[in-house]
Symmetry: none
Subunit: 270 residues, 2 copies
């Protein structure tokens, strides 16, 4: 259905190609239908941000990578959309920072867990936690299937990267004392506001930058990494993201909004 050729000149080509990856992921059984809707919301915020990585995102990427490198037990959480969009990058980042990878679904089914784990392994992952029996531990305060995590993964992690996560779960992880890093295009989402470090950017742009930054920061001393974290202020970063959107909308809104339509004879009864 989306298999139409997108001309190289199309101004929203990048965005449409990402969409096709997600639809492809849906067909492979990785992505939930709700995941497609969530992606649409992300697209809209990306449009508002300008579809480019902004300074506030770069700051958060540096802090996030510093936290992951300082972690004793870092875990990267992967859901359907993350797998469909950045499987290769998740595996690569996990290798650079020596982190576990765990499947962590909002709409958990055994089939989807397996499909995602397979997909990650096809992209080079050696171990994928959180599949089937392995997701046997539970996060307090969450309901039903949403609280299940791996006792060798998120349960014991000190720092978790949970991109495109639900707000309830982000809060639950925070309450457990974990340092939570997220990637979320919506600076107003509860996830964005509950995380310790929020990268307001498209995951497709952010993940390669995280890998590059991880390779760079790996050479830094723990003290220097700690200083990055000390100087980081997530509230400031979220405010900057909002201000950026605000200014973009402001310039859009300073024009006449109604379109002039040349009407044929009016048929209305007004």
């Amino acid at each position: 259905m989306f298999k139409l050729l997108i001309p190289p000149s199309h101004p929203r080509r990048e965005s449409l190609l990402i969409r096709e990856r997600l639809v492809e992921g849906f067909k492979r059984g990785l992505v939930a239908l709700e995941g497609l809707i969530a992606h649409g919301r992300g697209e809209c915020f990306d449009y508002l941000i300008g579809e480019k990585t902004q300074p506030f995102a770069l700051k958060a990427i540096e802090a996030g990578v510093a936290a992951l490198l300082l972690a004793e037990y870092p875990v990267i959480s992967v859901n359907g959309n993350v797998a469909a969009l950045v499987a290769k990058e998740v595996v690569e980042l996990a290798k650079v920072i020596d982190a576990k990878i765990e499947v962590n679904l909002f709409y958990r089914t055994r089939e989807r867990e397996k499909a995602i784990a397979e997909w990650l392994k096809e992209h080079g992952a050696e171990e994928v936690l959180g599949v089937g029996e392995d997701a046997s531990a539970t996060i307090p305060e969450l309901f039903s299937e949403r609280r299940r995590v791996s006792p060798r993964g998120i349960l014991v992690a000190d720092v978790v990267l949970v991109p495109l996560e639900d707000g309830d779960r982000t809060e639950a992880l925070r309450k457990m004392g974990k340092t939570v890093i997220t990637i979320d295009l919506n600076p107003l989402s509860r996830t964005a506001r509950a995380a310790n470090i929020t990268i307001v950017d498209n995951i497709v742009r952010a993940m390669p930058l995280m890998i590059k930054k991880a390779e760079e920061l790996k050479g830094w001393s723990r003290e220097r990494l700690r200083r990055v974290l000390e100087n980081y202020d997530n509230n400031e970063v979220l405010q900057e993201a909002l201000k950026h959107i605000l200014h973009r909308l402001e310039s859009l809104s300073n024009s006449k909004l109604v379109l002039e339509i040349e009407e044929a004879c009016r048929t209305s009864s007004e």
Copy 2:
């Protein structure tokens, strides 16, 4: 598969339930994949608006209902998302204002037309136009299947309610001299800007309000209804919607955004 309970305490429960209704609609063959992504974009603007019906929407609802009551031949246009979200309300509103209901799809297929008509009939519709042979008339300037309408419906209507509509088609309807009322969460969309009356609100909140308003305004004289329309300014309404979003972003971007989380013992290595 998606029938998991969303806990009553989940702060975004309403939004998640709406999402599930759309997924249900997709499974019933009402909603296109593109419709799911489009819904996500709507969610983004609902966030910016504050997920509540605002005064500018109430003004547009009143004007929209007045135009529908004054119409000689009002038609409500229904696509997949509209059917999935507010089938019952469409039927109810059509009865109160004595309007025709017409299936009108951006991605038209015979199966989807039929599924939507069936769904509307299950919700009490007696007649549904725009299905199969009935969609035999064409709107000028539109291509392929997108221009097909019913000769007993949109083609001859003087006032059309086209919620969640495409910009091209909204413009085409305007050029034909019709009074166009739309419901669209994005005040910057071409649909929002091309319509005569734009209700910037979530259709799930707006439709019940329209029914209530229609019942109230049915008792008004035509003159009084005409006065409502005379005093209505869509450009003003769109500007108010944008200003509302801007003010919200402004005050949020100056406030504390990060949520206070009461953490258990920190396990982090920071």
